[in-house]
Symmetry: C2
Subunit: 479 residues, 2 copies
């Protein structure tokens, strides 16, 4: 096998984006199919990204006072059914346990598709007074949704996520929490994953089953499609009422509390791939990359090369830089390819000539820029290179997104954008479900992504029906 | 509510150990029952202990080269059935998914009780050459076993654990890994949880379903019963053979690899409770305690008290000490009780008199020893106090265990030990399953816990049948 062979395994991104995506996932060894239809194995390279996401996001949650818990994976049918809209939304796509050991169960249990019902059930037992509020809970777990078609990370029957659930004495406090957690997602995704976002409120028809308001962060993939990357829901007192949660307020009167939930899943790994990846494979943002630097000795059979490479490795290890060294018997070219496919942000090449000059060559994964650095300054300069790369990746993706959002004031504009261009449209909307459906049908599937927090006024009337406009909406085809 | 009320909620440990355990779990808010029979909610106080266990153990795994992955929670029936002993061991206690969405499944899927079958299935597809070995995988997940009777942490239908699975080119390497991981467990449990252990190999009848050898760490609870706290299994090539995993060795010949698995679960939290707890509640080993120090202001309405307490809090926060401050309007006595029930290793009491003398009172949870420390020296002295406490907790538990292991050379000795004493017996054994069963029946349930790595020779003959002895065995009643 040669370097060329390895790179040839990846379809060019602009030739067939879907195949490119599948190839990258496979060649970077992020995840693989299993004998269980629609379920994946997250391989070490993929799971390590998720671990870093967990650790960074968990820290941000805890800074806002959130505590982690773990609730059962099974939900009795009767419990699932208490909130009408919620069960209608989820019942068609849950898997049912009907047998335990050798006996048929009296009541079937579904594998959780999400856990609002369980949190409510728990709170209905333990919450008694305003002193017990707020409850700020989160759990990291897997959930199951019986999807018909699946794609790695983007849609699978089982996926990993976190689901936050909070309970508050007032609607105001719950609404603030809903927005606070959207902000946590926004900051995390833009700062740590270098993925630019638009964000705002979902329209009525795109809301979560049972929510009063759903807020969302949406990213633009390199093919111009949207990926809903995290959502935060305000439930008002609907769930609490259905599950009979009450508390005594300070005036000793019974009140129904208000609730939120918010989730982000392994889908976000799909966004990292489709926003940053290129024809050579994955490109990982340095802050989230499991390995940030790969050290590759050149002509390692020559005296002193491996030793020097290991010396550099041991020095870097003592800093916060996450680095590895590849002293295997593969060729340097092969090692370069592997490092590039896996998206490791930088590599250090060190050969006999470099050693003579007391220097090493650092190659950035995103730009391929080669930077010559004195060996003595590696520990000091690499963090700066990684941070610059992080910022450059964000800026590049932001520019791409901004250049692919088009204002539309007529039906024709909308059709043109979604026929002849890639990206999002922004357009005024009357607020009716019918117009959303017509737009979707006319554009080959563009849906309302969100009503941004700060709306522009592009015109006075709905882009579709011409009636007075209520909101500006971002529209896009989506994953 | 007063301080006394709170403590009265816990049954005295020596009056009714089982009730004491249940009370501590409840009052310390570690976990709670749910509407799902046999399944628990791990509340923030309980889950935070598990998070610290995860983080400490995960670090130890990774230091040995282990990588984390995630495999599906569902296993097709046909896949479960490939290894005969394994399916016989687990089939009676699995839950079955038979319906997905609205359709009956063609093949039923069990919720994983353990994942050997899935790892084997994956490896049968991806392992081709000796270059692909070893595979050193671990996953953190929940598993489901359809138990009839359940107890918090000790036995529940769903529980959290890690399961490590490794694949090796040779039996020797796999056996070494099996023992290496047992050593990792041993070091972690004794060093971080301050729980002393005996360890060794399981007898044939106590082995894991499908294993050639099972190694175990066993802890002695305060009531003298054993808790199996972690196991490591050597499978030889049995599973690999059943699942058709083959690799080309260096001589280009097909070989069947060897496998191991090893697991530790939330059960270990039961060990922490039952080894260290006392009549006032939980006592957490400082290294694993989510909160190590609780700062409690005395007479906090007096000028400067809250300010000083917060000043101390902010100083401690800047060190590695995990601390909290309780400025709520509860009485100090109530706060002391809460801190004690939750097992927080130390509290700092700070009142007007202390402030006058520029000192604070540090109270150790385990001994209740009061230590007066200058405020300026708190940051420096508290880590030492916590480390001393950690060591003292281990020493105390070790002394208790050593004093409750009795040598038995006759059947009468065995009956006497398990009738009139609490603890373990050590006795010689002929190696027959029949003697194990007879001993269990005669002693009201004492089973062989393990054959230690270093056996003593207590006599020449089996404690039960008198035939020549093959091994020295530790015996105990167990959870």
């Amino acid at each position: 096998m040669t370097k060329e062979k390895l790179v040839q395994d990846i379809t060019a991104r602009d030739v067939d984006f879907a195949q490119w995506y599948t190839d990258v996932v496979k060649e970077a060894e992020l995840c693989d199919y299993t004998s269980v239809k629609g379920c994946l194995i997250y391989q070490p390279n993929g799971y390590a990204i998720w671990e870093n996401i967990q650790s960074a996001l968990d820290k941000r949650f805890k800074e806002t006072g959130v505590e982690n818990v773990y609730l059962p994976m099974l939900i009795p049918e009767s419990l699932l059914q208490k909130e009408k809209d919620h069960v209608e939304g989820f019942a068609p796509e849950v898997a049912w346990v009907t047998k335990g050991g050798n006996e048929e169960l009296e009541e079937k249990l579904c594998v959780r598709p999400t856990s609002e019902t369980l949190f409510c059930d728990h709170w209905s037992k333990v919450v008694k007074s305003y002193r017990d509020l707020p409850k700020l809970y989160n759990q990291w777990c897997s959930v199951l949704r019986w999807e018909k078609t699946t794609r790695p990370f983007l849609r699978s029957r089982e996926f990993l996520w976190q689901e936050g659930h909070t309970l508050h004495a007032s609607a105001k406090e719950a609404e603030e929490r809903t927005k606070m957690m959207l902000k946590v997602y926004y900051d995390f995704v833009t700062e740590d994953l270098a993925v630019p976002l638009i964000c705002g409120r979902k329209t009525e028809s795109e809301k979560f089953a049972g929510a009063k308001d759903t807020y969302t962060i949406e990213a633009m993939m390199h093919d111009g499609k949207a990926l809903q990357s995290g959502t935060s829901h305000f439930f008002g007192d609907g769930f609490a009422d259905a599950y009979n949660i009450k508390f005594l307020n300070k005036s000793n009167e019974l009140e129904v509390p208000n609730e939120t939930s918010w989730g982000l899943s392994t889908r976000i790994i799909g966004a990292i791939i489709m926003v940053h990846g290129d024809d050579s494979g994955l490109v990982l943002p340095p802050r989230i990359a499991p390995t940030q630097v790969m050290i590759i000795p050149i002509a390692q059979h020559k005296e002193g090369v491996t030793e020097k490479a290991e010396e550099i490795y041991n020095k870097l290890k003592q800093t916060n830089i996450r680095c590895k060294i590849d002293c295997s018997d593969k060729t340097p070219g092969w090692k370069f390819s592997e490092q590039e496919i896996q998206g490791i942000p930088a590599r250090i090449e060190i050969g006999p000539k470099d050693i003579e000059n007391n220097q090493a060559v650092v190659v950035r994964r995103d730009t391929r820029e080669k930077i010559i650095i004195s060996i003595d300054e590696l520990c000091q300069k690499i963090p700066t290179i990684l941070e610059t790369m992080q910022q450059d990746m964000y800026d590049r993706a932001k520019k791409f997104m901004d250049e692919h959002i088009y204002a539309a004031t007529t039906k024709e504009d909308m059709i043109d954008i979604f026929t002849n261009k890639i990206g999002f449209a922004k357009a005024m909307w009357c607020g009716s479900k019918e117009c959303e459906e017509e737009i979707k049908s006319l554009t080959g599937g563009a849906s309302s992504r969100c009503i941004p927090f700060e709306e522009e006024k592009l015109s006075d009337s709905c882009v579709f029906c011409g009636k007075p406009a209520k909101h500006m909406v971002y529209w896009g085809k989506s994953y």
